[in-house]
Symmetry: D2
Subunit: 333 residues, 4 copies
């Protein structure tokens, strides 16, 4: 499968490295609005560099595109790629504006190309083991879902300014996780509380760094999401699914299995991972594998456009709730 | 210190057993509205049985009373005991009706007797270690507090009917925990979501069994409380305090240190405790020790009447939020 | 059951405290060769103080004796108590000299009184859970048993000098644990290695502080025991039973359930217990309960004289192996 | 760096896959005495297939060889490769016969090529973290080292028959681990006990499946190694280093971070890895990286020929001790 990658930044480079290492994938193009950046990455990994998406989209030998460019370019690239008949793997979020997302959905409908949103956590072996356990009935009826996502340190202010805010940038993954694990449909009540405690600069930009959301699904199942932009002990990623039959958790992974005993403490593990790239390193590889499989075999993709839209629906509701102080009801369909 | 215990039920009997085992305490009276119940307990543990509180309150050799009778008798007994100049240890909640609590507070003000509310978790060695770590600055500025309280199985419908509801009966301990750990004062925003998922009978009584609350303290610190009336793996009690300097947790205690490895799993621990009595067994002893110390030495009691009132304030707000679907702001003073 | 306790030192006082707290037990006598010590303890806990064992042994109202005096007095007191028809709970070891142990066994045979050796670990809830799991077939055929016993700090030189050496003083508990868990009979091969690494003073007294023993039971099951006189992280007590069906472990218990996360580490638990008295606090109570039950109901006592002798047999063999550098074969009967 | 791999079996294929994935490595030849096997692997991974080592050794563009052929071919291939001036990475053990190992050492001395023995565990991130902690002084003076190595299931009888026995085939890694962690030199006392408990067929072949070794290093440090050919819960790999300053452990790694809570148990993790290939998957990649670095930069290789010989020395001594029942003293130099 021949790939074109849009965006030669950190995320794009990760996908490019995985394409290169994957025997079934071939890197055809690296496209970036900054030509030199595309060229530099292509030099290291191969592929043809360009700043013009059309070069790749018009090449009939290109089978698939990965959209890892800035969020505000996603919709246009998705539409262009769909029109060109390419399979699409697009980083989250689709867009920060639901109107544009719906416009995009309408625009690509007729082309019917495979499209997948980059909710890579769904491919993490631990989260996946939890999903399988839950689907296999191990917790019985789901009553409570709890998710913790804490970054090791806040991104720079320049990133925050364009991020769309904590609910859309950071918590979007957790909204997808909640929807994926619960399989929820229908109406959901959303309430959020958030503070600016970590970095005053984030507050000055009108954003928060400590945010929590409560969801009440149609089934009565309650879901709690807890995000922070800074955890000094490393990248904290936990999931807990509790129900009538028990509980299954996705516990934090440590970088190594070392345990220390001193005169002060026992069984101390090392710090958690320094960033999501390291924590989810293998996960991005598995995501690519899945995408290739799904496109090659025509499987229905689970993390599809509608999934991306539903996660955005919850992020919008959470932002609104934070603004008004009131709960918001949305319909997941 | 000579004690009178009001209430010869399960809770009263626990206090009576601890009084008997404590070298500095002596059981003088067991009072229960059902005389036979008082007599039966007194026969096993000593003390004089009666169904008349006045018998004990008029005895000048009685130093202290423990109020472990039904909740709706607490206020009257507190007032009577205060008037009689006895030190008071009263089980939570003070009352289900804030008006009566305030009336009680006004009524006992002039007598100035030592009064302590039975928030026994404050004396648990693990929770206390967390409190000391937090007060010692180990987590830095507190940003997030999370509390889980799940009972092994729901109480009988007859208990639910008189319990005051999940927020007042079960979550009251967690509200106190949140206030104790945070040291919060001033305004707090309270939002709750709750469902009836465990036992339909509880729903028919107008109560819930799966409840979650979000608090936002004046400092911006967010707090989440997660209660359930049923956890098949036992009595689940967890606390997590997260801040700028790290995290300190009160993890679940297992009944034994056994670990199992089979062809299916590894490092499996045994079930958690079967009830709060076993989990907090030692805690009740330490609570009594503290009470005796505080009364004997005239220490200011931390878990005092005002603490009981503040916890009730949050329970009232949570119930109101559940009813209206809107957040409620209360002032902790 | 009316008790006489021989020895008013630390161990005797522990038993005395437990007798006092036990509703079925009554403290009749405290006997110590130093009369003042007996008197001081009796003053606090009750009972009649004396320096003459005969005073208690001649009292027909005394049902049982606990022998917690220095090791070299055990045999004489056991014989005297047996002759007086008292039930006996004797601290380990019976004696450091196998000849005297066998003489004692012969001397008390005819009196047929209940006799129990103070291997209190058999009553620890965690070790007991392991024993039940093993007996219940959870590990299948036992192939490997591993035991770790490390003290927080070495005892004073004065204690070491009279202790009988590390194999007899410290490892005797582990030998009993190995025999209890395995149910081994017949021939066993014993090999030991030991060093003086912790405290040079211990070496000057001809003793070791770091000792390991390998046992090969008749069944082919291998057993490893690992003792140290000093672990800076606290009192380390672990047992592992491995077999054809899996593994069951008795893991270390922490003093509290606190967990810490800092910029350096995660999931750090607190130090282990500071001494065996605290680690096995409840265990001594359960031991006494069992003894009372067994004597009252005529149960066959498991930790009996023969158990004490078998543990001593292994300690003797380990000491011999350490001296000669060769393995030693002994017959457990 | 252009590689020739000798041996197209499971181990050879693992190295070949890693060479293919490594940007600094290129697969030049796949050599196997069974030509078809070499051809089949070369077809999948590239490289030229042959059954003649000389083809590769005479090719001046080949920089390095990996010896992953049967143990009895190692010495001849090492000598031939050294003579041809190739860098060598040889799987353990060098040979089962110390005479041949010494002959080999003498024969290759003059060629002075880089040679590394495949003790891949030294590159495992957890074991390495333990090594760094120990070298950094975290445990103070080392007093005790303990190693557990248990395979998920025994190899087939055909493998056992040629394996050299449990001490040489399985425990050789643990001997190297003990020597690496301790940095021991000089005399060491070796004692072993072993049984045939897992598979009678292994016993019929004169081998054991449950083996334990005690080592006493010159420093007085004691070391225990515990091997089994079968652990139903998966591949059990643990290391513990204990000393005057505390303890550092290399704990088992689980395949995922899932934790289960049911009505019977809590905090249950999943099975351990199914084999050493999966457990040490990343480790083999890091080993190759290190080898390439060391050869390219002329670093002194730590896991060198002498290391391989010292591990063999201990395996020989352990086998001898098992045969005679007596301890054996060897000199590590």
């Amino acid at each position: 499968m021949r790939f074109c990658v849009f965006g030669a930044g950190r995320m794009g480079e990760r996908h490019i490295a995985n394409i290169t290492a994957n025997k079934r994938a071939e890197l055809a193009y690296v496209i970036d609005s900054v030509h030199d950046r595309a060229a530099s990455v292509a030099e290291r990994f191969g592929g043809r560099a360009s700043d013009a998406p059309s070069v790749a989209l018009e090449d009939p030998t290109v089978d698939a595109v990965i959209v890892a460019s800035p969020t505000d370019t996603h919709v246009d690239l998705i539409i262009a790629a769909a029109r060109a008949g390419k399979a699409i793997l697009c980083e989250k979020p689709i867009d920060l504006d639901m109107t544009r997302v719906e416009m995009c959905q309408a625009a690509i409908g007729e082309y019917n190309v495979p499209i997948m949103i980059g909710f890579q956590r769904r491919f993490d072996v631990t989260h996946l083991a939890v999903k399988h356990a839950v689907d296999g009935g191990e917790v019985g009826r789901i009553e409570v879902i709890k998710i913790v996502s804490r970054d090791p340190q806040p991104p720079p202010a320049s990133y925050i300014a364009k991020s769309g805010g904590q609910f859309h940038d950071q918590m979007i993954h957790d909204f997808d996780m909640a929807l994926w694990l619960s399989g929820a449909t229908g109406k959901v009540t959303v309430f959020s509380m958030a503070s600016n405690l970590v970095d005053p600069e984030i507050g000055r930009l009108g954003d928060t760094d400590t945010a929590q959301v409560l969801l009440r699904f149609h089934s009565g199942c309650l879901c709690h999401i807890d995000c922070s932009r800074r955890a000094v002990y490393g990248y904290d990623q936990r999931v807990e699914v509790f129900g009538s039959g028990g509980m299954v958790c996705s516990a934090n992974l440590n970088r190594t299995g070392i345990e220390r005993y001193t005169s002060q403490l026992t069984v101390a593990r090392d710090r958690l991972y320094d960033d999501f790239m390291k924590r989810y390193s293998q996960t991005y590889e598995l995501e690519l594998e899945y995408f290739i499989d799904a496109v090659a075999n025509g499987y229905a993709i689970e993390a599809n456009f509608a999934s991306g839209k539903r996660a955005l629906l919850l992020a919008d509701a959470a932002r609104q709730s934070h603004g008004t102080g009131a709960a918001v009801v949305v319909d997941l369909g």
